[in-house]
């Protein structure tokens, strides 16, 4: 939506001193000097954004600080913004008997990698077909997919269907399969595809390439940002999964997906003790407060470390996805 040189802009151009370069870089040109209200607004903006960013950040500081505190000091004076009586005890507990957490990591990483890869291929193929204007069934299939967001059976019938009819209760597949795709991700992929000129498809057809070849060799190489974005949302879905695990896995599997493992540590005392099984301590001796926080850090850490690199795909996903499909 970048504006070309409209008459309005050229009119202001003549108002500025010739030869002097425009200083303003952003989309608000300032041919006249800033009014007082502009300065007030700018000041308020900096202050408010700083405060809100701090509001967003502080909870993370709380968790990390708590995980690095000593249990006795937390019991005495409670959690705070800074580590109290700095100590690695909680992390030592976790890594003394790391069987559970390593098992959970393996389960989550395997699910995330395979689910994202398979999901991406399926979503890209579907998005490509629905983007093709010459595909006569695109509206039928789009509606078939979109309808699932309008009407659903609800939890109880779905639960019975997946656990009894499909027989997936207690199987990792009950978690892995439903996360493969969402209507929203398919629409997102289709919206991204619109950036591919249709002439590419046409020229491929003229050269005698089949539909799959046009997709795989001509379209897909141009779709790297789209694949990164959709892949990020898929991976995030797998990494943060706890809900389907609570429905279909419960305590039937030895190694729970990471976030469900964390969920159990927070909510049941037994899970907390099992998480450090082998260290032979009674539940009352466990540094339960700091242990919970350290588990949260360990379960969340990797995704936060990756965050700076994947953030730009995240943003493009939000802006492209907001366009209706």
């Amino acid at each position: 939506m970048h504006s070309s040189e409209t008459p309005l802009i050229s009119a202001t151009e003549t108002l500025t001193v010739p030869g002097k370069k425009r200083r303003w870089a952003s989309n608000q040109a300032r041919p006249v000097k800033s009014a007082k209200s502009d300065l007030v607004l700018r000041f308020v903006s900096y202050v408010f954004i700083t405060l809100f960013a701090l509001f967003c950040l502080l909870p993370f500081v709380l968790i990390v600080s708590a995980s690095l505190s000593s249990e006795s000091e937390i019991m005495r004076s409670g959690f705070g913004l800074l580590p109290k009586d700095f100590s690695f005890t909680a992390y030592e507990y976790i890594f003394k008997a790391p069987r559970q957490i390593i098992g959970s990591y393996v389960v989550t990483v395997v699910m995330t990698v395979t689910g994202t890869a398979v999901g991406l291929v399926v979503i890209a193929m579907t998005g490509f077909a629905l983007f093709r204007q010459d595909f006569p069934f695109r509206n039928h299939i789009s509606f078939f997919i979109y309808f699932t967001t309008l009407f659903s059976a609800g939890l109880a019938p779905t639960f019975l269907w997946v656990s009894n009819t499909l027989g997936l209760r207690g199987s990792y597949l009950a978690v892995w399969l439903p996360l493969l795709m969402t209507p929203w991700l398919i629409i997102l992929m289709k919206n991204f595809m619109r950036t591919v000129p249709f002439e590419i498809v046409e020229s491929g057809k003229i050269d005698g390439a089949g539909d799959f070849r046009i997709f795989w060799q001509l379209t897909l190489p141009m779709m790297k940002p789209a694949l990164a974005t959709v892949g990020l949302f898929l991976a995030l879905g797998y990494w943060n999964e706890w809900y389907l695990s609570s429905l279909y896995l419960g305590s039937t599997v030895e190694f729970k997906p990471l976030q469900y493992y964390l969920y159990n540590i927070i909510n049941t005392a037994n899970a907390l003790r099992n998480s450090v099984a082998g260290s032979n301590v009674s539940i009352t001796d466990l540094p339960s407060n700091t242990l919970k926080m350290a588990s949260a850090v360990v379960a969340t850490g990797p995704i936060l470390l990756l965050y700076p690199w994947v953030q730009k795909y995240f943003v493009s996903g939000i802006t492209v996805g907001a366009v209706k499909g």
Partner: protein, 329 residues
């Protein structure tokens, strides 16, 4: 359809065309299937997926009209008509759940959009690139993490014995408060947590819309001597209207659907908070997982789906009347 085909059709005698109509239509469907078979194959996994996981459970809504038991199965269990719904309505449960779900969503929509638009406008005022980058990154962060961690954060802040809030109260000489048994406080807490988690994410859409505004409009406003407030009122806000309406329509469509993960990880099985915080999703989850109550939960779910569906249709129809371009479908 190619030009040749079209010509062939017109050159054929009229009577012959009428007689062969249905046959030819069938043949043309067959032909388009054949022509696009590779594209159909490429869609097949997704079609199969939605068929199995979304359409498959649909017949199960029949449970809502039965006295379901495992032994007789969904269609063998005795039919009871609307008895399950009667119970829900008479006990007032359906009303409480609907009220909580809708009111929370309305609060999320109103406060969320106001805050998102305000922050987007403020971001547009920020000139320091580094500042903008860092603060934006920090604001997305809460959206990135799992709701389980949100529950951990709430525990850290609010628990009675060691919570950071009570630690602060005690440090300043006050008496600690039992937040996890104060039903009145939780709507506010849940709204704050929701805003904490979704504002940065939501503001990006509005910020992108502001970046797309014709620069000439800003220059013209500046020449006319518009104040900052006038610039916001007459240039920015009108330009955000289409984005706002589409997002509003999306969220109104989901007004009967709550954010289960957030509510469950904050409230869970804490019955003392249900009066103000129990939404349809959490109630259904409890019925299924801890009470094995499939009939009532299916009835609530069906009510939610039907009502939600009607609301999307009405919202879309209304917007379509106003301006066709804004409609979802």
């Amino acid at each position: 359809m190619s030009v040749k085909q079209a010509q062939a059709r017109h050159s054929r005698p009229r009577a012959q065309r009428a007689g062969a109509g249905s046959q030819r239509r069938r043949r043309s469907v067959w032909k388009s299937i054949k022509d696009s078979r590779m594209l159909l194959v490429m869609c097949a996994p997704a079609i199969l997926f939605f068929l199995v996981f979304n359409y498959g459970p649909l017949p199960g809504v029949w449970i809502a009209f039965t006295n379901f038991n495992y032994h007789d199965g969904i269609f063998g269990s005795p039919f009871v008509g609307f008895k399950n719904f009667d119970f829900l309505i008479k006990s007032g449960q359906l009303w409480t759940l609907t009220r909580n779900t809708v009111l929370f969503n309305l609060a999320f929509i109103v406060l969320g959009n106001v805050l998102q638009i305000a922050i987007a406008i403020m971001f547009n005022e920020v000139r320091l690139k580094f500042f903008k980058k860092v603060t934006q990154s920090v604001m997305f962060l809460p959206y990135f993490i799992s709701v389980v961690l949100v529950g951990v954060i709430a525990f850290n802040l609010l628990n009675y014995d060691t919570g950071a809030l009570n630690a602060l109260i005690k440090a300043t000489g006050g008496d600690p408060i039992k937040i996890y048994s104060m039903a009145g406080a939780w709507p506010l807490i849940i709204i704050l947590v929701h805003l904490w988690q979704s504002t940065g994410y939501g503001s990006i859409v509005y910020f992108a819309a502001i970046m797309g505004i014709d620069k000439g409009l800003f220059e013209a406003a500046a020449i006319d001597g518009a104040s900052a407030w006038q610039r916001i009122r007459y240039v920015i806000l009108p330009s955000l209207k289409p984005t706002f309406i589409i997002l509003l329509l999306f969220s109104l469509g989901g007004i009967m659907h709550g954010n289960f993960g957030l509510f469950w990880n904050l409230i869970g099985n804490n019955a003392s908070l249900f009066s103000t915080t129990d939404i349809i999703e959490t109630s259904v989850y409890r019925m299924v997982m801890s009470q094995n109550n499939f009939t009532t939960s299916t009835a609530v779910g069906l009510y939610q789906s039907l009502f939600g569906f009607a609301i999307v249709m009405i919202a879309n129809w209304t917007v379509r009347k106003m301006n066709k371009d804004y409609a979802l479908f």
